[in-house]
């Protein structure tokens, strides 16, 4: 083995702590960088990617079979703006049930195969329905639940003869175009049977038989573009043939929900992870090489050229770094698997793992940083005159930081070990600066993560105040006790309405006697307040298409929305809107606008914008007003209960009270969206990793420091310093750097959070309420700043223990 090889080998093997720390730091750094990058990638439009991967339908149109011929339908493929088309697929609405339960009516589309140029279906379980009597159910749709498995037999109650169908599989439609699928012939047979019996009964709903047409449009980014496409298609068909259309935007809103708001956060988090990784790796490597200055001096005295010294040290750093990188790549990819699995599951994407280029880039980047810092530090040490290099390491450079030592020694009430330790950082300012940076980044990550979690939970928390909701179900489906029906309506501010199947577009039925229901709610012991809601569609000049107006009533109304500017509603004739509405219409708070209600008469209602709220429903185009403004009556009530009320009992009691009024009370589900939970967990994991890296950085620095001072430590101990005093001294040596790092880190973290929120506001068009932006209270800031101290002390504990255990005799022999 060459002399160089021997030096490298002994340098890696004998200098265990820097080697181990390098391996660990690079490993954690690569892990967090891979995780951060994957988070950023995975959260970038999973729905859009899945939509692309499966040629999702921009538009699902429902056609009256009696009014359009297949040829006319085929002709719509050439309509302006249509890029691709699939169908016609026969469409039937059937109600299924078994001995155990009944399901609400579901849309069954007839398709020969799952594959299609538009809205390609993915079979997730079982097989495709190939013959009569077979059906495939949609997953992640309205009726997805643990209740059904393949092989289940369902009876169709509303098809004459009550045929039995077997569930043979489950499939996912990215655009949720149907609740179930069967062979076209089968669906047509059901349609025919239904319409025959309806004609006999002279039923109003005759002509239910229809087709589904699925379209991809050349431009479908906005509601206006989708509506333009819809009009072009309708224009090519006989009047009244197009009976309904569902835009992919509605589906996207439903699926993606609040997670759009997270993306800037995640990207910032990923970047923070990468920057932190680079910084600490550089810090550790530079420290390790710098501490070897004396060894470098000896090597040079023996005849090593500066070039050989540099090569030796770059190799010495790269070997453990490469080992750490390989390990980190493994853990990084492993830790991203749950995200990938979850996004695949939620959005129907078919991602297998983080793209390999992410890993390659991360590893190459970090190894380059290692090589570069090692090169720079070794080149500096190699350039030192050999005598000077040999003199280094015995004692800290004479004179530096003595003022601090004197000052610390004069502080009354401090024990000597503590004051000695406090002065440590000033003898090696560069090293201390590196340590402060490491701690600062750790503290910044924690600060940012806390800000993220706080802001997100603040966005959600107002929706979560409702404990119980009251609705008036038309035909309340009988369900198995194991599965509660998913409530048809949701609190305002929660997810926008689901992509409703055509035919269900009229919304939930209004509550028949609102005054009595409200009275019953008020009379119920435990009630704190309530909000009644009703939805309708309106148009207003400046905003394209139909807008949802929410008619609100009840004492709780203002509690569900955070104001950005202006004030809350005080009576009819006033509206509160979100920033995108103001942007779109060019209005401001205080302006007058006219709402045109959807009703047959198309009534014009003048209203005044009295406030701007943070309301992300309907992409911020929702209008909030008093129900009297639009003459609506509530479709649902959301009730808050007094503290300590048993919500289960309350809901049951209220249901009993409401029974004569045809309304039911249900507990409101507050499960946060799965994706949000996952992202929170990963952000937490990333934070922990970054804090660990910061702690390792501190550990490394304190180890170097202890090694440099081992002789002095020996002297202290010879003079009677106990192990406890030694630990106190070493721990004190990181107190100031820890505090400085903590304070700097909190400042950086808050700055990053503000910047990201600013970007989020600009990117999404929403003005965030102050309560969401100001995520940090003074107590939290103080706690976070102390967090830097905690990182520092934790990182110093291990080397402090080593220092305390160092054999005095050995230490004294180190000369």
């Amino acid at each position: 083995m060459s002399a160089l090889g021997r030096v490298v080998r002994s340098g890696v093997a004998r200098r265990r702590v820097p080697t181990i720390v390098t391996v660990l730091v690079v490993m954690v750094a690569v892990t967090s960088a891979v995780l951060g990058a994957s988070l950023a990638v995975a959260s970038r439009g999973p729905f859009e990617r899945a939509f692309q991967q499966h040629h999702g339908a921009h538009l699902a149109a429902r056609i009256d079979a009696a009014k359009a011929t297949p040829a006319q339908l085929a002709g719509t493929a050439t309509a302006a703006g249509v890029a691709a088309v699939a169908g016609p697929f026969p469409l039937a609405t059937v109600s299924a049930g078994s001995g155990r339960f009944r399901m609400p009516p579901m849309e069954v589309a007839g398709r020969g195969t799952p594959g299609s140029a538009v809205d390609e279906l993915t079979l997730t379980r079982g097989r495709w329905a190939t013959g009569p009597g077979e059906i495939v159910l949609a997953v992640n749709g309205r009726f997805d639940g643990p209740l059904l498995t393949t092989g289940e037999e369902l009876t169709l109650d509303d098809v004459p003869g009550n045929p039995v169908v077997t569930v043979v599989g489950f499939a996912r439609s990215i655009t949720r175009t149907a609740d179930a699928w069967a062979q076209p012939g089968q669906v047509t047979a059901w349609q025919t049977a239904q319409s025959a019996s309806q004609n006999q009964n002279q039923s109003e709903t005759a002509g239910r038989a229809g087709y589904q047409m699925l379209y991809r449009l050349t431009a479908a980014g906005t509601q206006a573009q989708v509506e333009a496409g819809t009009e072009a298609i309708a224009a090519g068909l006989p009047a009244g043939a197009l009976t309904g259309a569902t835009s992919w935007l509605a589906v996207r809103r439903d699926v993606v929900g609040d997670t759009v708001l997270l993306i800037p956060f995640l990207i910032a988090f990923g970047l923070l992870g990468v920057v932190m990784a680079v910084l600490i790796v550089g810090n550790v490597i530079a420290g390790a090489v710098a501490s070897a200055t004396r060894r470098i001096g000896i090597l040079k005295a023996l005849g090593f050229t500066p070039g050989q010294v540099v090569r030796a040290y770059v190799m010495q750093a790269l070997i453990p770094a490469a080992a750490g990188a390989v390990l980190g790549l493994g853990t990084g990819y492993l830790s991203t698997l749950p995200v990938i699995t979850k996004t695949n599951d939620l959005y129907g994407t078919t991602d297998r793992g983080t793209a390999p280029w992410v890993g390659v880039l991360v590893v190459a980047g970090i190894l380059a940083v290692v090589a570069l810092t090692a090169w720079a530090a070794a080149a500096r040490a190699g350039r030192l005159r050999t005598v000077d290099a040999l003199a280094v390491g015995r004692t800290p450079r004479a004179g530096r930081g003595r003022w601090a030592s004197r000052l610390a020694g004069r502080i009354p009430l401090l024990s000597r070990p503590v004051s000695l330790g406090l002065a440590y950082p000033f003898t090696r300012p560069m090293r201390s600066a590196g340590m402060i940076a490491a701690i600062a980044f750790g503290a910044a990550s924690v600060t940012f993560a806390v800000g993220l979690a706080t802001s997100l939970s603040r966005i959600d928390e107002v929706e979560d105040i409702a404990a119980v909701q009251v609705t008036a179900p038309a035909e309340r489906p009988v369900t198995a006790p194991a599965e509660r029906p998913e409530p048809g309506a949701e609190p305002p501010g929660a997810d926008p309405p689901r992509a409703e199947p055509p035919g269900a577009q009229d919304g939930p039925p209004a509550i028949s006697d609102p005054a009595k229901v409200a009275a019953a709610i008020n009379a119920q012991p435990g009630t704190s307040g309530y909000l009644g809601t009703a939805r309708t569609e309106v148009t207003t000049p400046g905003a394209t298409g139909q807008l949802t107006a929410m008619g609100l009533t009840g004492p709780d109304a203002s509690r569900y929305y955070r104001m950005v500017s202006g004030r809350w509603l005080r009576g009819p004739g006033e509206i509160v809107v979100a920033t995108p509405f103001l942007t779109a219409t060019g209005k401001k708070v205080g302006d007058q606008v006219t709402l045109t209600s959807k009703g047959s008469e198309g009534r014009d209602i003048p209203v005044r914008i009295v406030g701007e709220a943070f309301n992300i429903d309907e992409d911020g185009m929702q209008i909030l007003t008093d129900q009297a403004t639009l003459g609506l009556t509530p479709e649902a009530y959301y009730i808050t209960v007094k503290d300590g009320t048993d919500i289960d009992e309350y809901a049951a009691a209220l249901s009993t009270a409401l029974e004569p009024l045809g309304a039911v009370a249900d507990q409101v589900d507050h499960d946060p969206p799965e994706m949000l939970v996952l992202i929170d967990a990963l952000a937490a994991l990333l934070t922990v990793l970054l804090v660990v890296v910061a702690g390792l950085g501190v550990l490394n620095t304190v180890v170097l420091e202890t090694r440099d001072r081992v002789h002095d430590l020996g002297v202290h101990k010879a003079l009677g310093m106990t192990p406890r005093q030694t630990i106190a001294m070493v721990i004190s040596s990181v107190v100031l750097t820890g505090l400085a790092g903590g304070v700097a880190g909190v400042a950086v973290g808050v700055l990053v959070q503000r910047t990201v929120l600013g970007a989020m506001g600009r990117g999404t068009g929403f003005t965030l309420p102050a309560s969401v932006v100001d995520a940090y209270g003074p107590g939290v800031v103080l706690l976070l700043a102390v967090g830097g101290l905690v990182i520092a002390v934790t990182g110093a504990l291990l080397p402090a223990g080593w220092a305390a255990r160092t054999r005095t005799v050995t230490a004294l022999r180190t000369e």
Partner: protein, 241 residues
Amino acid sequence: MIELRDVTRRYDEGPPALDDISVSIAPGEAVAILGPSGSGKSTLLNLVAGLDHPTTGTVTVDGVRVDRLGEAASARYRRARIGLIFQFFNLLDDLTVADNVLLPAQLAGTGRADAERRAADLLARLGVSRHADAYPGRLSGGERQRVAVARALMNNPALLLADEPTGALDTASGEEVRKLLTELHADGQTIILVTHDLTLATACATRTIRLLDGRVTADGRVTADGRVTADGRDYAAGSGR
């Protein structure tokens, strides 16, 4: 009373540094330990200081089983009873002379005013007062060693241990330190002194122990020609008794 009984100190490799030796030293004695490099002199001193533990055998100082003390207890033991002087002074370079001297008292938790008074007294007595606020790096070897002696005496140790205190000094500085130690002994200070320096041994020790390969080869009074008279274990030869 210092008593090493059947003490062996063995390192991982090589012959034992101390090989089954038994030595008793009475209060007030000034004992010089002579011997060639590697004969185990420093090892013996370290055992008495509680810096190191024997592999077998016992070390008792004033009734304290030093070989059984844990780290913290041995630190407290050193603080209370032992003053250490080294060949290379071992002053802390980033503390002033005064702060170096104060350190043992501060570690022991002595009141600030008392400690400062005593440090000033010691610096004056050793003739280095004017350097009190200087850093050790600026002092000559002799001055540094006097500061080290002042530091060693700070807590009024019953026992002063010096490992080659003149080994790194020129003749003149060596002479200063020699005089200093002799005076201290004359004042009743018990001293154990490791040295190759015969002059130092004859001038200030009342008794000499000669070590070779970890064994005691002679124990008695050293003569000017370097022979140790009264071979054997004549512990009564000490003068401070």
